[in-house]
Structure formats: structure tokens, C-alpha cells
């Protein structure tokens, strides 16, 4: 299984990938995470590839081989499209980061509606209001945990729900266990609401 996690710097892409990978290891799978990031400066594109089980080979995956895309930002989701199989599951936090360059007309940020329609054209898109739900659970920092909750409910993952949740709770600061659990559950609920 090939999972892509993407966003902009500060979204917690790498941490999210590590949590998923650790959960997969806890279930006895082999894993590989491919990552490469540049500088300390925030706001740039960040992507990592998680390869689980028999796909755990090279750290970069071939194009059009992704099974799941977990995207923290719409334009970044679009950027990873060429890695996805047709009809792959795309979980999207619909929270655009536009950037000053686009405001100044130095680069062009596509219309949100356009991004959504492009994503839905070839993929199975599920939009999750993860940032908002994270704030409701206590802090925007937990956006990734909301997303993981949704991912767990999507039944696409070869990892059991409780394994994933416990891995998360193991890896977050002890005083935030309760709020992280809440964030995870909000993610699950949100996914179910979308499916109904």
C-alpha cells in the first residue's frame, strides 16, 4: 500500500507520516517513508511517501501508484495527483494557504472550486473540515489527528483503528491525550457524516 501525505511547512506532514508508519510497524508490517525537505523556512511544499507491506521498497514511489492521499492543503493535493491511481481515496483538509506571491500576482493560486472539481474528476474525494474540527477539539495543531481519525474510518487502511489511535496517544505530550482523542473521534464522525 502506498500512502502520500502532503501539505505546506508547519502542517505536521512528517509527524503524521511517522505516526502512521509506527502504527503499521506495530501491526507487524514493513515500512519505508520517503521524504526530502529543504530548509528551516516555513510555508513551502512538503510531501512524504509511506510505503507499507510488499510496497515497502524504494523511498520514492512510481507515478500513478498511490492508494491514499492525505492532503492538508488543496493546491498541494493537486500537486500530488500524478502519483495517484485512478479512483484512489483523497482525504482533503479544505484550508487553502495562498501565500503572498499569489496575492501579488507573482504566482497563480487556482480557484478552489476548480481544484475540487479536478480532484473529484479522477479520485474519490472526501473533504474534511479538519482545521476547524481541530480548533473545536482544543487546538489547530491537532488538524493531523482529525485527518487520521477520518482515515481510520475510511476502511482503506490495513491498520486497526485502535492501533492507530493508541500510537497517536503514545506519541503526543501526555497532557494532550484527552484532546487528541477527541480530535480523532471528530475526524471519524466527520467521515461518517460525509459517507451518509
Amino acid at each position: 500500500m502506498n500512502i502520500i501525505i502532503c501539505g505546506v511547512g508547519g502542517n505536521g506532514v512528517i509527524l503524521t507520516t511517522r505516526i502512521l508508519a509506527q502504527a503499521a510497524i506495530n501491526e507487524g508490517f514493513n515500512v519505508r517513508i520517503g521524504a526530502s525537505h529543504g530548509l528551516a523556512i516555513r510555508g513551502g511544499t512538503v510531501v512524504s511517501y509511506l510505503r507499507i507491506g510488499s510496497d515497502a521498497k524504494g523511498v520514492i514511489m512510481p507515478q500513478r501508484s498511490g492508494d491514499i492521499l492525505l492532503a492538508f492543503e488543496p493546491l498541494e493535493a493537486l500537486r500530488q495527483m500524478k502519483l495517484m491511481k485512478d479512483n484512489a481515496k483523497v482525504l482533503l483538509n479544505n484550508e487553502p494557504y495562498i501565500g503572498v506571491d499569489a496575492h501579488l500576482g507573482l504566482s497563480k493560486y487556482p480557484e478552489i472550486e476548480e481544484i475540487i472539481s479536478r480532484l473529484s474528476e479522477t479520485q474519490e474525494l472526501v473533504e474534511i473540515e479538519a482545521s476547524k474540527l481541530a480548533i473545536k477539539a482544543g487546538s489547530q495543531v491537532m488538524t493531523n489527528v482529525v485527518m487520521l481519525g477520518s482515515l481510520a474510518s475510511s476502511k482503506e487502511l490495513p491498520i486497526k483503528r485502535d492501533t492507530l489511535l493508541n500510537t497517536i496517544l503514545d506519541m503526543v505530550p501526555p497532557q494532550t491525550v484527552e484532546s487528541n482523542k477527541r480530535a480523532f473521534e471528530y475526524g471519524e464522525q466527520a467521515f461518517h457524516e460525509k459517507q451518509n
Binding site: 517513508i33 526530502s36 523556512i41 513551502g44 520514492i60 506571491d101 487556482p110
Partner: protein, 653 residues
């Protein structure tokens, strides 16, 4: 200082680690006594991980002042019989090549390992050089791991090889190995030994020409011996692939096609063969210099064509070609030189697949059909920007305003650090950026060449300490009329905030003297040095304007705290930032703030009555936009602004 407890787990445990962490563990398992580096993405975190463990485990760890120094510290230890390692990104190898090529001649008395990280695809570097050439240049063996496990194990082995040969050894990795995660099974930790003893032997260690010449045959003998040792290197492996499947049956398996792959490209090769169902005899080559000759002779038996897969330059390929010619082996060699594989950029499974597709009638890559291609056309790259609240933004703003009002133009020579992001619009504050320390010397060159516009050099504290000092001294001696502005945040920011001599502590967490750059500049013979706070933009502009026309070199130190570090401190002290506020009815939507500053905390609202600026949650409350807005539409209450400490220019002593 955060200790990475993962690195201390027991032998036998399986741990998810980055390649950088795996190498750090390998260094610990080898019991190195001295570990040094100069920060450089992608390998910085090796020492960042070792530093906080140094006292606990009993080794020494430092981010040295520059790479040459880092290597020489490690070399001193290796002559004194203590295992030592120097870690660098590939650019640092350019700096260490001078001492390295001579230490190869003296040899070492304990393992001396240089870990070098190349950056194919240039994720964070100004070139894409291949440091394996330096192995050939200096007769230094090169080992190339393919994943985290090998990175750890081969680093440990590199010390043993170095001791066996009494020669420094390179471990060559690439950025993708550094930052990717692998599950790694741990070995035993060897306690570090630091009972150094230097046995004098001038014939060996005093490398004047006559004595050095006498030792050249020894070096040649060593590198020949290395080739023999590499014959039995356990990470060199021949893998038979029968119609895509790995097989151990040599009979009836037969193929005329071979692939030689090194580093992390080997798994790509496996994946491509599996899908295309091609048969091949694959050599996973870990010792890319010097080549094991017997192993290759055996490998080439029965092969008619061979594809060579490697990151960066065709270093293995050139050697294999020469080897085949020498041994009279008739084989067609494909690789980068005949453009079967691309020579530019980072490899991936699709590019390896593309190479195979050129040689066989097969298809590896899934097609990008129309909807995917259309999406590709919609993508624009994000332009990196200095962080919200970064003092460098204030410095650039002041420099550009000063030059604009001065009306005589100006050439600004840039340097390496976060501030090189100042090249992008809207800051567009630098005209050159070459390599660390080049700004000041090149500014001198421009002045001496007769450039009439004001000439400025901008350089950070870390880079000034690394290689700016000799250039400034040179400008003093030759009376170059240049204005040097040091962006002093007292930390090496770009690579992830490593301490330097200005910081007041070292990598192991020990307090150290806080070196004041003004003292250094004074000591170089420049009296004309001013210290101004970066966010004191009026004062900074005024200072620049007043000194542009002074003769000789002058230095302005623009001082401000890195916004990321300030944010971390606030999280500890639980202090809250007061974000800038926009008076929506006053903001006319002129975008002066955007055009002059381009802070990433700027958002924009075009809905409703009037367009206006929106401040995003990542605002760090630096109040620079408050100073710049011509309509006074942005505010942070005076008492909530981060106070400016210097109310006036601090003159040099």
C-alpha cells in the same frame, strides 16, 4: 537541548529512524570519541542528534566554525589514536579537500570517517556536485549504503576499514537517505575511547615536499589494498532476477543483461524489474571506489550489455568503462554518458524505468492521462519566503529604502543563509549569491574593478564566522570602499538553528563566551562599525545612508532575534504574541505592505465593501508592517510591541 532517546535503545531492537539518525547510531555503535561537523542540509541532524548525547556517553561533539576546521579537529584526534568522524554536506568537501588530501598521505592511527551527503535534484544546495570524485582525487575509499540499516552498519564498518588501511574513509549518502525513514535493527554500543596519545614521527606527519614525496608509494599501496578488501565487502551483492522475480537458482537462469546499482537506487531497480518482468543479473555495489576487480571479472562473465544506475555523476560508470577496456571485456555499457539515464536531477523508479524502456520493449511507468496532464499544467511552485517576523526582512527593507532615497543605485552582493531567500520578489534584495563567504570578497573585486555604484555585501553571523573574516581583512588591507551589513541573529538559522560562536553555548549544551561580532570587526582594523537593531528601521536606514560614501570598508551589524527561536522561547515562558490588527475601514487596499515586505502572515480579503489586508495566525508581532503602512491602518499597541533595546547606534569601540 532535546535528547533523542530512540538512539539509545537496546541492541536487537527495531527502530524507525531517518537515515541521519541511523548514521548517528552507527557512530555511537562504533564508539567514536570525536564527532564534528559544520551544519549543512541534508546531513545536519547527524551531529544535532549526537550533541545532546555527548556528555552522557563520553564523546566530544561539535559544530565547528567551518568544515575545514571540523575536519582538522577530527584529523588531529585520529592522529592521536582516537576514532573520529566529520560530517558534512557535499559543499563542505570542497573546503576539507586541502587537509584531506594530505591526511591521506600521512595516514591515521584510528578510524577517521567522513560522512558526506550529496544533494541530487538540489533540494537545498547551490550545485549538484558528486563528492565521489574527491575519493578518486585523494585515494580515499568510498562506501555507499542503500538504506538506513546499511547507513548505520556501513558507518560502523567504515571505522574498521579506516583502521585496517590507516586511511580516511568516505561514507557517501544522498539527501533522500538523510531524510527518509527506515526500520533499523540496532547493534551493540561500544563505549567511546578518548585516551589520545600522539607518537611523534616527523617523517610521517611533517608533510613538507621531500617527506611527502617519500610517502606517496604508501598511499598507492593502500588504495590498491582497499580494492582487494572490497572484494569481500558483505554489502556488495549479486542478485539474480528471473523474469522479475529474485531467484537463487543459477541453473537454468541465464541472461545477457546486467544492472549495476549503487546507493538507494538499488530498490528502484528491483521494483522496475519486478513490474516489467525482465531478467537481469544485478550487482548492488556498495564500494564505488576503488572497484573490486575480481568480483567484477566474475560478474561480467556472460553479460553483453550492462546498465549503470547511480545518483549524480557517472562516477561508477567511468570507472567500469575503464575497467572493461583494461580487462578486454566486450560489453556495451549504458548509463549517463550515453543518456540512457539522466545526468541531471534526482533518480526515481520512473526514471530508472525510463532507462529500461530504452533498452527493452517494455513499459514501466503508468501513463499520465489527459486529466492528470491538465492538472500538471495548473501547478505553480510556491515561492519560499523569510518567516513572518524575521529580522532579515527589516534589514532588507532598510537597505532598499536607503538606496532608493540615495538615488545612486547600488549593487548588493548576497551570501548564504536564510537571507538568500531575499532574492525573491517582493524583497528582491540581492544581486549575487555564490558560496559561503563570497559576498565580501566579491564586493571588493567589484570595487577594485571600478564599479561606480555603492557596493554592499550582506552576510549572516554564521557565514561571517565561517568564511567572511578573511575576506573582510582582505578588504581592509586593500582599502575597498564597500559597506558590509552583517545580519546578526546569533545563530546558524537556515540549517535548523545550530549554535555558533556568537550564540553563547555549544552543541553539547555547555555555556561558551558570546563572541561579539563588533569586537571581531574592530580587531580586523575597522573602526567604522555600527550596531543597530534590525527592527529600528529608521535608524538602520539613516546609518546606511550616512556611511555609504565613507572610504574603505565599513561594517553595520543589524541585530535581531530569529523569529522561530523567539517563538520557541515564548512557548516555554507562555508569553502571548500580540498580532498586528488591520483597521479595515482605513486600509485602502494599496498593497504597499505586500509590495515592500511580503510577510507570509499577510492574507487578503477581496470580498465585501473594500479590499483589505488580513493578518493570519502565523503573525509574530514584529510590527514591521505597522512601520511601513502609509495609511497607518495596521497597529499593535505600543506596550505590546517587542521593545527595541537600542535607541541609538552603538558605535564600535
Amino acid at each position: 537541548m532535546k535528547v533523542n532517546k530512540n538512539l539509545l535503545r537496546d541492541a536487537g531492537e527495531r527502530v524507525l529512524l531517518t537515515g541521519n539518525e541511523a548514521i548517528a547510531r552507527g557512530i555511537i555503535e562504533a564508539g567514536a570519541g570525536i564527532t564534528t561537523a559544520f551544519p549543512g542540509t541534508p546531513s545536519t541532524q547527524i551531529l544535532d542528534n549526537l550533541g545532546p548525547l555527548a556528555h552522557q556517553l563520553g564523546f566530544h561533539a561539535e559544530h565547528s566554525v567551518n568544515e575545514a576546521v571540523a575536519f582538522e579537529v577530527a584529523a588531529g584526534a585520529a592522529l592521536a589514536g582516537v576514532r573520529s568522524v566529520m560530517v558534512t554536506k557535499m559543499l563542505g568537501v570542497n573546503l576539507i579537500s586541502d587537509p584531506l588530501l594530505v591526511i591521506a598521505i600521512t595516514g591515521v592511527n584510528a578510524g577517521l570517517v567522513v560522512v558526506t551527503a550529496d544533494d541530487p535534484g538540489q533540494h537545498s544546495s547551490q550545485n549538484a556536485e558528486d563528492t565521489r570524485y574527491f575519493g578518486m582525487l585523494g585515494k580515499i575509499p568510498v562506501l555507499e549504503p542503500m538504506d538506513g540499516q546499511e547507513a548505520k552498519d556501513m558507518t560502523k564498518y567504515a571505522f574498521e576499514l579506516s583502521e585496517e588501511l590507516q586511511l580516511p574513509v568516505f561514507v557517501r549518502i544522498t539527501s533522500r537517505i538523510c531524510h527518509s525513514y527506515f526500520d533499523v535493527t540496532f547493534g551493540e554500543i561500544t563505549p567511546p575511547k578518548r585516551e589520545g596519545h600522539f607518537e611523534k614521527d616527523p617523517k610521517r606527519y611533517v608533510m613538507i615536499s621531500t617527506l611527502s614525496r617519500a610517502r606517496q608509494p604508501i598511499l598507492t599501496e593502500k588504495i590498491n589494498r582497499a580494492a582487494v578488501i572490497n572484494e569481500s565487502n558483505p554489502w556488495n551483492k549479486v542478485i539474480l532476477i528471473d523474469k522479475g522475480e529474485i531467484t537463487t537458482k543459477t541453473n537454468p537462469f541465464k541472461t545477457e543483461f546486467g544492472i549495476i546499482a549503487s546507493g538507494l537506487t538499488y530498490p528502484y531497480v528491483e521494483e522496475v524489474l519486478e513490474k516489467t518482468k525482465i531478467s537481469a543479473k544485478v550487482l548492488k555495489l556498495a564500494t564505488t571506489y576503488p572497484l573490486p576487480k575480481q568480483l567484477l571479472n566474475d560478474y561480467f562473465k556472460g553479460l553483453e550489455k550492462v546498465l549503470i544506475v547511480e545518483e549524480c555523476e557517472p562516477v561508477t560508470e567511468m570507472q567500469i568503462r575503464a575497467f572493461a577496456q583494461r580487462e578486454g571485456i566486450e560489453v556495451i555499457i549504458h548509463g549517463k554518458e550515453d543518456q540512457t539515464m539522466p545526468r541531471i536531477g534526482e533518480l526515481n523508479p520512473d526514471l530508472v524505468g525510463g532507462g529500461i524502456e530504452k533498452l527493452f520493449k517494455v513499459k514501466f511507468s503508468e501513463e499520465l492521462t489527459k486529466p492528470y496532464l491538465e492538472v500538471e499544467a495548473m501547478l505553480t511552485k510556491r515561492v519560499p519566503a523569510l518567516c513572518a517576523g524575521c529580522p532579515h526582512r527589516a534589514s532588507y527593507y532598510s537597505i532598499k529604502e536607503a538606496l532608493r532615497k540615495n538615488k545612486k543605485g547600488g549593487v548588493i552582493l548576497g551570501d548564504r543563509g536564510c537571507y538568500n531567500q531575499g532574492v525573491h520578489e517582493p524583497i528582491a534584495g540581492i544581486d549575487t549569491c555564490i558560496c559561503m563567504g563570497a559576498s565580501i570578497a566579491m564586493a571588493s573585486g567589484m570595487y577594485q574593478s571600478g564599479v561606480k555604484e555603492p557596493i554592499l555585501a550582506v552576510i549572516g553571523d554564521g557565514t561571517f564566522l565561517h568564511s567572511g573574516i578573511p575576506s573582510l581583512l582582505n578588504a581592509v588591507q586593500h582599502r575597498s570602499k564597500i559597506t558590509v551589513i552583517i545580519f546578526d541573529n546569533s545563530i546558524t538559522g537556515m540549517t535548523g538553528h545550530q549554535p555558533n560562536a556568537c550564540t553563547g553555548r555549544n552543541l553539547m549544551g555547555d555555556p561558551t563566551p558570546e563572541v561579539d561580532l563588533a569586537d571581531i570587526v574592530n580587531g580586523l582594523g575597522i573602526e567604522n562599525v555600527k550596531v543597530v537593531e534590525s527592527f529600528h528601521t529608521e535608524l538602520l536606514q539613516d546609518t546606511i545612508t550616512r556611511h555609504l560614501e565613507d572610504d574603505g570598508p565599513k561594517v553595520i551589524i543589524s541585530r535581531g532575534e530569529c523569529a522561530i527561536l523567539a517563538g520557541r522561547e515564548r512557548r516555554i515562558t507562555k508569553e502571548k504574541v500580540t498580532r498586528a490588527r488591520v483597521a479595515v475601514e482605513t486600509c485602502t487596499g494599496c498593497k504597499v505592505c505586500m509590495k515592500k515586505l511580503g510577510c507570509p502572515a499577510f492574507g487578503w480579503s477581496s470580498s465585501g465593501e473594500n479590499e483589505h489586508l488580513v493578518i493570519l495566525p502565523n503573525c509574530n508581532g514584529c510590527a514591521l508592517c505597522v512601520q511601513v503602512c502609509p495609511k497607518l491602518a495596521i497597529s499593535i499597541p505600543m506596550e505590546k510591541q517587542i521593545p527595541l533595546k537600542t535607541k541609538q547606534v552603538v558605535a564600535g569601540r
